[in-house]
């Protein structure tokens, strides 16, 4: 990967992951961007919303579909120092889930809180 130019100060990123884990490559792409930004020592937050909440579920049988396990990638986010991992309350409710079913602990946030996060981020990427 290319070196970052020296003059740049770190950006704050908000990644909004709203795609189901295996219906397209969007889920993996969102995580790849989060991991890459974190590897370049940017400040990264990720919020799972809509069908993206399904990415967080434990016991994903990705092998059965010949795919890589998205849940495992999510557990790598903290190792890469992705600062904040959140999930939209509405999505948790809509899919009738409980945070105990997730691969790791996440902060549950409201729509209002997400608005504030979007307003405060230098770059917002929705996938």
């Amino acid at each position: 990967m290319p070196a970052m130019s020296q003059s740049q100060s770190p950006c704050s990123y908000l990644i909004i992951a709203r795609s189901s884990p295996y219906g397209s490559q969007q889920a993996r792409a969102a995580l790849d961007i989060a991991l890459t930004a974190a590897a370049f020592e940017q400040s990264v937050s990720i919020v799972f919303m809509d069908a993206g909440v399904l990415q967080l579920l434990k016991n994903q049988q990705a092998d059965a579909a010949g795919m890589k396990n998205i849940g495992k990638v999510i557990t790598a986010l903290e190792l890469y120092e992705v600062n904040s991992i959140m999930v939209h309350q509405e999505a948790v409710d809509k899919y009738d889930l409980d945070p105990s079913q997730f691969v790791q602990s996440v902060d549950v946030v409201t729509s209002e809180e997400i608005k504030t996060l979007i307003a405060g981020a230098d770059q917002v990427m929705v996938l």
Binding site: S5, Q8, S9, A29, I33, T36, F40, D122, L127
Partner: protein, 130 residues
């Protein structure tokens, strides 16, 4: 302002690439600067020199090439995205022992780090997903 544009969708099955092209043209007409175009996932297909749409349809990759070369825009196709879709430059074709290469002149193959680098230099990053 300084913009970077991320193109996620394929040139023919979504409007992402065509919309991004029109958007890029509009930005330049308005006097804005494009730091980088980043062709990600299916967007990498916009770098193919082998697309032959019917004559009465727009040739999106060719239009990108015209814009990129006319304005000297930095245009990157994501390496992993491009390779798996059969979009290769001469060096990649050589490395993977393929018998042809098809990346349009003006496009470069590089990594996702180029997107993060572009975001750091841009006031806005605009993504065209579908």
């Amino acid at each position: 302002m300084k913009f970077s544009i991320v193109i996620h969708g394929a040139p023919w099955s979504s409007s992402a690439s065509h919309s991004a092209l029109r958007y890029a043209e509009a930005l330049l007409e308005c006097g804005h600067e494009i730091v980088r175009l980043f062709f990600y996932q299916d967007g990498a297909s916009s770098g193919s020199s082998l697309c032959v749409p019917p004559q009465d349809e727009i040739n999106i990759p060719e239009q990108w090439q015209v814009l990129i070369n006319k304005h000297g825009i930095d245009a990157v196709v994501c390496a992993a995205s491009a390779l798996k879709r059969g979009i290769l430059d001469a060096a990649e074709a050589d490395r993977y022992e393929k018998n042809a290469h098809n990346l349009l002149p003006g496009f470069a193959v590089s990594g996702l780090g180029q997107l993060i680098d572009a975001a750091g230099q841009s006031d806005r990053v605009v993504s065209f997903v579908q």
